[in-house]
Amino acid sequence: MTGLTGPAAASARPPFPGSVPGPVLDVRDLTVTLPRRGGARMAAVSGMNLVLRPGEIVGLAGESGSGKTMTALAALGLLPGGARTTGEILFEGRDLLSLSQRALRDVRGRDIAMVFQDPMTSLHPMLTVERQITDHLRHHRGVSRAVARARALELLETVRIPGPEQALRSYPHRFSGGMRQRIAIAVALACDPKVIIADEPTTALDVTVQAGILRLLDRLRRERDMSVLLITHDLGVMSSLADRISVMYAGRVVENGPRRTVLTAPRHPYTRGLLDALPHPEEETSELRPIPGQPPATGAAPAGCPFHPRCAWSRASCAERLPDLVELEPAHSAACPVDPFGPAAPVGPSGPSGPSAPAGPAGPAGTAGPSFSPEVPA
């Protein structure tokens, strides 16, 4: 993997701005391309910027194929073979993309750890829980077996595994899905990482169990000042944990901002569409309003704004120019020049499938504005 610096990287912000604590992870103008048959390349992530500060949980939202996971894998140097990157991923000022595999191995698992969706595949089925935690410690910290074991016991207590002594001697299959995910988190915590990347950590779990894992992650970041990059398509999970949210579509960030702003007063039609497509437990009557059409396959994003074919507010210009991510207010930006939910005069949706008239101006409350038509084009 090469650390070619993209042309736009030079324009990035200073590394340690003013009073705000410096980022622990700083993704700058990251582009990931994958080989396609016939020698061409397709972009899985384009022009991605993301900042993670100490103790902060930043959410990456979007549908499958939007580039969420590719961003995470790039940070860990785990991209599939043939992938190429440009831009920078700075971890405490060092560019992870330019590190050798050997140097990266030291960072991975020690400074940045990952929690995957399915703990059954991320834990080794033939190794005891003790071995999975202590291997990590012994490799990265070089501690004795006894010290590592004591630490493993402590970690199982931290993630609240009942009967930790016995659990250390057990194999992963002995545990339920929720308990396995707790063990996977204990493994990730072994070397006291500064960053945990959690890729759909609760998607495979029941809501009752999910709630426990969300509380655990929240407690860990408070107690340890740990940063979490939370990747999930579930905006309910996002709403419970994330401080800030970046919404990705077709490899690009289309909106980012504080949790409450993004979820209650989104400015990008895609974010709005994702929210409208969700059942809202507090509202009894509202119907589901799916986003029409399909997200594009990786590398097959249409010209112009990648969302324009599915957007009820798109104009002719949307098919031509790729919109920039523009700061709308401090810490909140969106990539939509039409800005149908902005404070400026609300614009009715265009196009044949759009609703005939907006229900009202989409103010900051963000619940009364126009929505997508439920029709799905054939």
């Binding site: 549908e63 499958s64 339920s176 899905g177 929720g178 308990m179 029941d206 809501v207 009752t208 169990v209 999910q210 709630a211 426990g212 969300l214 509380r215 929240d218 398509h233 579930d234 905006l235 309910g236 999970v237 996002m238 709403s239 419970s240 944990l241 949790r259 409450r260 702003t261 993004v262 979820l263 209650t264 569409g273 994702l274 929210l275 497509a277 969700l278 059942p279 809202h280 437990p281 507090e282 009894e284 509202s286 119907e287 589901l288 309003r289 799916p290 986003i291 399909q294 997200p295 439920p374 799905v376 084009p377 054939a378």
Partner: protein, 321 residues
């Protein structure tokens, strides 16, 4: 007449060398024409087993399943009885429920043949249009479609058999958020339009709340609570229903953490005595460990299997610490 009626169903899995597992231990529910019934519960609660027994994919060890006045016979090596063709099933994973080596059109034609029709390209086209797929999909193969589109193909195939009742087992849980909404909406529209019964099995309470007329909550093989969906949500009576509702994360930007329910679903091979929920129940009394609660009707169409709770549980059981 009730369209699909299951009573006192017991389904036991026998594995050589292991104790038998009773996944469904005396559960029943009914589906009327044009009605959407949501069946919810954690994984391992027996909801999928109940769904499979409903269409005859599993043989119950006791209890009855009656569809349209005729008992549903468990499937054997022989062809499915004609009387059951109007009872169709849609599975969770449209990647494994469609045959990868046959074209979409051929697979939809299977449904038509089941209904006693000949192959009919025109009808296939109509069905594809009805589920909002491009008409040229008939000549293509399942791998060319996304998860949501594949689930639409599975729905078109089920529709070809002219069903009066569809059992959908987690039909949207393998799909992306926006595809979830569109497939759920499609199923609801079809149920209303064709006056079909729909048994919608899901672990996602929020979606069931949105689409189901009545909801059945299942725990470890038994039914904890059953009632009109809005009533169940607004005024749940069973502590388990309350716990499920509290655990759903709200996408409201508030940063509020949902309430976990301690413990896991116990091993159905060795279920707890008395009320099966008592080891996890915040309101359990000593007698709950002894007496098996009976499900009693507390309002028309609303029944609950908890003798302890006399009032609706309108507030969360565990205040946020």
């Amino acid at each position: 007449m009730t369209l699909l009626d299951m009573r006192d169903l017991v389904v036991t899995y026998q594995t050589p060398g292991r104790p038998p597992v009773t996944a469904v231990a005396g559960a029943g529910l009914s589906v009327e024409r044009g009605q959407i019934v949501g069946l919810v519960g954690e994984s391992g609660c027996g909801k999928s087993t109940l769904g499979k027994a409903a269409v005859g994919l599993l043989a119950p060890s006791s209890g009855t399943v009656v569809f349209d006045g005729t008992p549903v016979a468990p499937l054997t090596r022989r062809a499915r009885p004609v009387a059951q063709r109007r009872l169709q099933m849609i599975f969770q994973d449209p990647f494994s429920s469609l045959n990868p080596r046959r074209s979409v059109g051929e697979q939809i034609n299977d449904g038509l043949r089941l209904a006693g029709h000949r192959r009919d390209a025109g009808r296939v086209r109509e069905l594809l249009e009805r589920v909002a797929l491009p008409v040229d999909a008939a000549g293509r193969y399942p791998h060319e479609f996304s998860g949501g589109q594949r689930q639409r193909i599975a729905i078109a195939r089920a529709l070809a058999a002219e069903p009066s009742c569809i059992v959908a087992d987690e039909p949207i849980s393998a799909l992306d958020a926006s595809a979830q909404a569109s497939v759920a909406t499609l199923l609801v529209d079809l149920a209303r339009e064709l006056d079909m019964g729909l048994l919608f099995i899901s672990h996602d309470l929020a979606i069931v709340r949105q689409i189901a007329d009545v909801t059945t909550v299942m725990y470890l093989g038994t039914i904890a609570e059953h009632g009109p969906t809005h009533e169940l949500w607004a005024r749940p009576r069973h502590p388990y229903t309350r716990a499920l509702i509290d655990a759903v994360p709200r996408p409201d930007g508030s940063g509020r953490l949902p309430e976990p329910l301690p413990g896991d679903v116990p091993d159905p091979a060795a279920p707890p005595s008395g009320c099966r929920f008592h080891p996890r129940c915040p309101l359990a009394l000593p007698e709950c460990a002894v007496r098996v609660p009976e499900r009693v009707e507390i309002a028309p169409g609303h029944s609950v299997a908890c003798p302890v709770v006399k009032e609706p549980l309108t507030i969360s059981l565990r205040p946020v610490p």
